[in-house]
Amino acid sequence: MSIKKPSTTVIRKTNTTSTGLSVLNILTRSEILTLFLLILAFVVGTILSPYFLDIPFLLNNTSTYIEIGIMGLGLVAVIINGEIDLSVESTLALVACVAGVLFFDLHFPMPIVLVISLALGAALGWLNGFLVTRTSLPSLLVTLATLALYRGAANILVGDDSRPKLAWSREIVFPSWFLGVEKVHILGTPIPLPLVILIVLAVIIGIILAKTTFGRWVYAIGTNEQAARYSGIPTARVKRILFTLSGFLAGLAGLIMVSRLGVARYDHARGWALDAITAVVLGGVSIEGGKGGVLGPVLAFLLIVILRTGMGVANIKAESQLAVIGALLIGAVLTSNFIERFHK
């Protein structure tokens, strides 16, 4: 959302440093609440079921939701910047379908398909950024439109069928080296490759956000865009880069999904953008921009995986689990608001 209260954020920040209560400073760090909930989920799960603490099982389960995590990484930067990108899930679907059509219908070699697909994801993201910066429309509105547009394009491309098509012989599939990314584990450890990709990307984006000038610009724009522009930050360019990053990561998530499932369909990841935003916000990133980091959303992603796995073990249906995730989101933001108000 582009609704900002820049002035209050700034005041709050100065207060934090001036009072200098170190314990409260740690408590008001955005990731702490997520970390606490994560530990709590572990403890409660272990008490409830002795089988819960099956680490390899939990780690393998991260692959089921990995696309949410990867889309979430792109969203972290976009949301800190004070914008939002609802279209990531459709970018994912369109990239997946284009990859399928390029490989099966146009007979491109797979490595070239991968390169084109990743470039397409970035291009779709750039288009979002271009529209947002050029028309100065709210990103919520622009990406709402491209949410429909990109998935619509995927639907036109492959129809209600998939690639490989349902009617085709079982032998026509993606190359075997491309399939089953979630079955690859790193050096005999139980850590699946998708999780490694997520963590590596998180470290890179985390360093960019925290340690580079560009990263400081992202926070500055999210805190007060007008002030950022007046102090010479190329706000439009930063925004376009972030939307491009978000599209690129969504495209990558699309390829991972195709590798996992073996098929490309236009309805891949439908509704997952809201899940990704949930993970980001649960990770302590302020939807109003200017505040948060990468660590919190990654922890929140693990929290969601653990909760969903735990509830799955406890035989709670996937759809009913939504009620818990929703309540958790509201509860977490309420609590952090409360701590902040108490702090002030």
């Binding site: 582009s2 709210p138 547009l149």
Partner: protein, 343 residues
């Protein structure tokens, strides 16, 4: 963007009086687009204007319009409510569970219960946003999931099959006043709610307060507008309308499905509201414009089918229309601002 460094030049305002008056009538662009689509479709395929197709367009309206009338108020206050689809499903399923137990349950009581469930759901949204100060997108994103989860818990994951939906409720989508079949009751109700919303927004103090809050929250607070209560009220009304839509859904489609009813519908509603000229920055928008926005989506939907465009094109066309409408509106507003300030 909005910095007005120099004092507006008076003579320029009088010079562009006509342009301003036209641009201020924000619905003009979308009405032109609507006429264009209808003309284009009926030239290519004359059967487009057959009564059957017009009736299909009418039947497409109620669900969208009724929720959009709430959503427009929310967006005027600079908020957003993405939980409406889930609220609609929750109300529809809950009433459906009653029908499952008691097939002869009074239909007006059913409608009342659906509205009350929606009202409660909306009131929770409103309380979280007005008093707990959660950003609207967060609060309603949370309840989007929570209400959908509740829908599954209440129904046990089972659909309310057509044989459980009372015949009388299905008749609301078949027959209208005086036994006519062209404008069924659900459409009449949607028109009625549109007119009431328009009157509420324009002629009541609360309605004007809604615009004031969206225009400038702090200023309206200083002027004594009960900001919290008004925001609470807006979300509560939206919830109630979404709850009522649960009944409209059962009437129109003859079933309610926990995993299908209203999934993703919030985005269609927001699209209709925005196409109808409502600014996402708050403070402007009208019930009339939103109604035209809903009508446009309905006409596009039916036109695509009549013209034989594959159903797979529908989503992309939607996206393109939302984008074009939004960009056109932004350009008009920019021109208008330049005309007024003479920059």
């Amino acid at each position: 963007m909005t910095t007005v460094s120099n004092i507006p030049k008076v003579q320029r305002i009088s010079g562009t009086n006509m342009a301003i008056r036209l641009a201020r009538f924000r619905e003009i662009g979308i009405i032109l687009l609507l006429i264009l689509i209808v003309l284009g479709a009926s030239v290519v395929e004359p059967s487009f204007l057959k009564p059957f197709n017009i009736r299909t367009i009418f039947l497409w309206l109620p669900l969208l319009t009724v929720i959009a009338m709430g959503e427009v108020m929310v967006i005027i206050t600079k908020g957003i409510d993405v939980s409406v689809g889930s609220t609609m499903a929750l109300a529809g399923i809950s009433v459906g569970m009653i029908w499952r137990q008691n097939p002869s349950f009074n239909i007006y009581a059913s409608t009342g219960i659906a509205i009350l469930i929606g009202l409660a759901a909306g009131a929770l949204n409103g309380a979280l946003i007005a008093w707990a100060k959660l950003p609207p997108i967060i609060a309603t994103l949370g309840t989007l999931n929570a209400y959908r989860g509740l829908t599954f818990i209440v129904s046990g994951g089972r659909q309310i099959d057509p044989n459980y939906v009372p015949r009388k409720i299905i008749f609301w989508s078949i027959k209208g006043p005086f036994g006519n079949e062209m404008v069924p009751w659900v459409v009449v109700i949607a028109f009625f709610i549109t007119v009431v919303t328009w009157a509420f927004l324009h002629y009541t103090v609360t309605g004007r307060n809604i615009y004031a809050i969206g225009g400038n929250l702090n200023a309206s607070r200083l002027r004594g507008v009960p900001v919290e209560w008004t925001i609470f009220l807006v979300y509560t009304i939206t919830g109630a309308l979404a709850g009522f839509s649960g009944i409209l859904y059962a009437s129109r489609f003859g079933f309610v499905n926990p995993g299908e009813t209203g999934v993703g519908f919030e985005l269609t509603v927001i699209a209709a509201v925005v196409i109808g000229g409502t600014s996402m920055f708050g403070g402007s928008g009208s019930a009339f414009g939103v109604f035209i926005g809903c009508l446009l989506l309905a006409v596009i939907n039916v036109a695509l089918a009549v013209l034989g465009v594959a159903a797979t094109w529908q989503l992309a066309v939607y996206g393109a229309v939302i984008l074009l409408a939004a960009i056109a509106d932004a350009l008009i507003q920019l021109k208008l601002r330049r005309a007024i300030t003479g920059e």
